[in-house]
């Protein structure tokens, strides 16, 4: 669909106040990528999580944090001390023109500074007020301290990852807050649609634990039905991951169903052409019953596959999979992903100018393409306080001396 009919920003007339830390960043990015005017509100001096690496050119600096740059793209940025009385007054004015407010403070914090949903909703009844917290606003764990690994554990995914003889593992690219941001954006959009129809805003309470739990959607039901736990490395009877000449690929054969049969035949035919199918060439895959295979047969099949894969690179194997129609994927590294021909053909990556770095940086693009909108990064992440003047003077109508006073008092 490369050509778009027009590129009206879908949420273009809507403003988002984003008060989140890293737990909720991604929600605002999604709304921003959909075209909303997202204003990231940081503490004077900047969001503390700007100190999270890796950094641009490995130089630790608040304007060079790569996680920050990705998750806060498509946003403008202002600084504001919302705990100071003057800061709260400014926030209250900003709330009047906002359609969404997203925050990820501990439960009760916003009420504590007089900016809870009740208070904000009284100023602006149409606002969608979204809170992203580890366990939700109430309940026995609501005040628990967390990090990515703790939520990955509590949300049930970690128990399914890793080798059985060692500790369960997390993903080395932290994932919990992506799921939280996506759930927060989804809930906010449902509430947004209701507001569009009725003018009525509402409160959206997101639990990061439950967001992570969506990744193991059968877990609670499996216990309810069978009283059975899912042990890591035991999910699949047949091995999935194999070393190849220059890396690893994910492939398996012989499952039940038409797709499996076609894929298995396409792969074993190729192996037979290369003289490496061994006894896999003699199996009638149309009538193959995977449930009846003995452990010895499975192990033998894995050996034959493993030996064949070692003779090819992951790119050779992947291209053959595409051409011949069997199900195999490279176990991609970031380099593979940046060089992927399909992503290139679809213009997936987005080049973003960073004048302050004197560079153009390439970011992961949109999760889907739309015929009437460009879902993607509309501006690079803001520098600390970059849009203070624009927002406070031009849009909020504060006088230059008022802004200067706020700055003098450390409010912005």
């Amino acid at each position: 669909m490369k050509q778009r009919v027009d590129t009206e920003p879908l949420l273009g007339s809507h403003r988002v106040l984003d008060l989140t830390d890293e737990k909720g960043w991604f929600c605002g990015k999604i709304l921003g990528d959909l075209g909303a005017d997202v204003i990231k509100v940081e503490k004077p001096g900047g969001d503390p999580a700007r100190t999270t690496g890796p950094f641009y050119h490995d130089v630790p600096h608040p304007e060079r944090s790569l996680p920050w740059m990705y998750c806060n793209s498509s946003k403008r940025g202002i600084t504001l001390d919302i705990e100071a009385t003057a800061g709260r007054d400014v926030l209250r004015s900003l709330v009047r023109s906002a359609d969404f407010l997203i925050e990820s403070f501990s439960p009760g914090y916003m009420e504590g500074i007089g900016m809870g949903y009740e208070a904000v909703g009284a100023v602006n009844p149409g606002i969608v007020f979204t809170s992203v917290t580890p366990f939700g606003q109430s309940g026995p764990y609501k005040d628990y301290e967390v990090s990515d690994i703790v939520l990955w554990a509590m949300g049930g995914v970690m128990a399914t990852c890793g080798d059985k003889d060692r500790a369960p593992v997390r993903c080395s690219v932290p994932q919990a807050y992506y799921f939280a941001g996506l759930q927060a954006a989804t809930g906010s959009m449902v509430a947004h649609y209701h507001r569009q129809l009725t003018g009525e805003g509402q409160y959206v309470d997101v639990s990061i634990q439950e967001s992570v739990l969506l990744n193991v959607p059968n877990s609670v039901m499996t216990w309810d039905t069978f009283q059975r736990n899912t042990i890591r490395s035991e999910g699949m009877r047949v091995r999935m991951l194999y070393p190849c000449k220059d890396g690893r690929v994910v492939c398996s054969i012989g499952g039940a169903g038409v797709g499996w049969t076609q894929s298995t035949i396409a792969l074993t035919n190729w192996m037979a052409e290369e003289g490496m199918a061994e006894e896999l060439a003699d199996i009638d895959w149309h009538n193959f019953n995977p449930g009846a295979a003995t452990p010895e047969q499975v192990q033998r099949a894995e050996e034959i596959l493993g030996a064949f894969f070692l003779t090819r690179t992951k790119q050779e194997l992947y291209e053959a999979a595409v051409q011949r129609g069997f199900s195999l994927a490279p176990s991609s590294t970031p380099k593979d992903l940046r060089e992927d021909v399909q992503l290139a053909a679809r213009d997936f990556y987005i080049e973003v100018e960073h004048p302050e770095l004197g560079d153009t940086v390439t970011y992961a693009g949109a999760p889907l393409q739309m015929s009437h909108h460009h879902w993607g990064i509309h501006r690079r992440a803001p520098l600390i306080g970059e849009h203070n003047e624009e927002v406070y003077q031009t849009e909020l109508g504060l006088l230059p001396e008022e802004v200067a006073a706020l700055r003098r008092d450390g409010v912005i």
Partner: protein, 414 residues
């Protein structure tokens, strides 16, 4: 009177299957949309087999996985390769506001139900396609499963131990991400149509969906040339950081100590043993440097306590910690119960089945789970007669032609 739900009146013709598509339309159904899931006995949804895969029911209607992924939907059985099947499908898309499909790219055009064809019947249709690699490009016809999409997007290389083969995140990882992006886009499209009268086409590649969660590793490669390797449970900013063995069988608790304050609290919890004052552990940098020794010492303490006790003791002092929860722990989790994360619905074959609610709670327009996933063809009569307006004679003809499929059409039924 109950409050009107957000998507009441929104009509969805759902030609998707498996996970990524059905989970998206479920979200709309739980907020009031009328969703008609179109299936065929000839090619039953793989999720209908997932229940038996987990060892219980071989029945086509006996999967709690399918039940959970298709809450609140109506179900019909239709053979789209039959002329009368296509005629019914055309009537269905004319009725619909949203059409969704998840066939391999190009397949749905064979049934005359691709976006361009549907647009001629319903000019303002909102139409989404979700597939592994998208509708165009050199790899668009590539066929594989969800775990291959996860591997393509990099979620195998980054999970596991550095001295071993990666283990990956099991299952169809991108299928758990894709649906919510789809929902965001569909809502934006519904609002756009409300304002402008125009429909929209959405092309989702589950591979690309996965890559949006792989940052900042691609940026790190792009600007620093670094290829992120799996590092077990290590974290560049914290030590101790990992899951530690606790008392009991295969029982673990995750602990993350990043700051000096966390470290002091952590030491108090474990009773300030002498080694905690060792120079090897005197600063965050020192603790990182001597992490192997530190992990062993931490585990000497954790193995003497149950995982829930470790979590509770750590949390009482504000140290981030959490049980590595398995199915049983999740089932009994007091926090999930407090939030009613799952709702029990009656199921015709399984008695009652749990269904997970969305991770967000809306204060004014909450989701409402009213019925479990439909039996195959359960709502044929209602949909064909009441919604699409076919007469009894026409329905009889469709049955004779095989356009409406029955159990006799199941693989292996003859």
């Amino acid at each position: 009177m109950e409050k009107k739900q957000v998507f009441e009146g929104v009509k969805v013709a759902d030609f998707t299957w498996s996970i990524a598509g059905p989970m998206a339309t479920r979200e709309l159904a739980e907020h009031g949309a009328t969703v008609i899931r179109v299936e065929s006995h000839k090619y039953p949804c793989p999720m209908r087999r997932a229940g038996s895969m987990l060892g219980r029911s071989a029945s086509i209607n006996g999967s709690f996985v399918f039940a959970n992924f298709n809450t609140n939907k109506l179900g019909i059985s239709l053979d789209l390769s039959k002329p009368k099947g296509q005629e019914a499908a055309r009537r269905l898309v004319k009725w619909a506001d949203i059409v969704g499909e998840s066939f391999g790219p190009g397949v749905i055009a064979r049934f005359g139900l691709d976006y361009e064809s549907v647009r001629k019947i319903k000019p303002d249709i909102i139409y989404f396609s979700t597939s592994l690699q998208g509708q165009y490009g050199p790899h668009s016809r590539y066929q594989a499963w969800g775990w291959q999409a996860a591997s393509l997007a990099g979620f195998y290389e980054t999970v596991g131990w550095p001295d071993r083969l990666p283990t990956g995140i099991p299952g169809a990882y991108t299928d758990q991400i894709a649906p919510y992006y789809t929902v965001c886009a569909l809502i934006a499209a519904l609002d756009y149509r409300r304002r402008t009268g125009k429909g929209m086409y959405l092309d989702q590649a589950q591979f690309e969906v996965g890559v949006t969660f792989a940052e900042p590793s691609l940026l790190d490669y792009g600007v620093n040339g670094r290829i992120l390797k799996r590092r077990g449970n290590r974290d560049p900013y914290a030590a101790p950081h990992g899951s530690y063995r606790c008392q009991g069988d295969d029982s673990w608790c995750a602990i993350a100590v990043a700051t000096d304050n966390d470290w002091e609290a952590f030491c108090e919890v474990i009773g300030n043993p002498a080694w905690t004052r060792d120079q090897r552990f005197a600063s965050p940098a020192a603790r990182k440097e001597n992490e192997n020794q530190l992990d062993r010492l931490v585990e000497e303490w954790t193995v003497r306590h149950s995982a829930p006790d470790v979590m509770r003791m750590m949390q009482e002092r504000g140290v981030p910690a959490g049980v590595v929860q398995k199915n049983e722990d999740l089932f009994n989790d007091p926090q999930l119960r407090h939030r009613d994360s799952h709702e029990r619905l009656n199921h015709p074959e399984l008695g009652t089945v749990l269904h997970q609610r969305p991770a967000y709670r809306l204060s004014r327009t909450p989701c409402r789970l009213t019925s479990t996933g439909p039996n195959l063809g359960e709502h044929n009569e209602y949909v064909f007669k009441e919604i699409l307006g076919f007469s009894d004679d026409e329905i009889a003809d469709m049955l004779i032609e095989g356009a409406i499929t029955t159990e006799a059409d199941m693989p292996g039924a003859r």
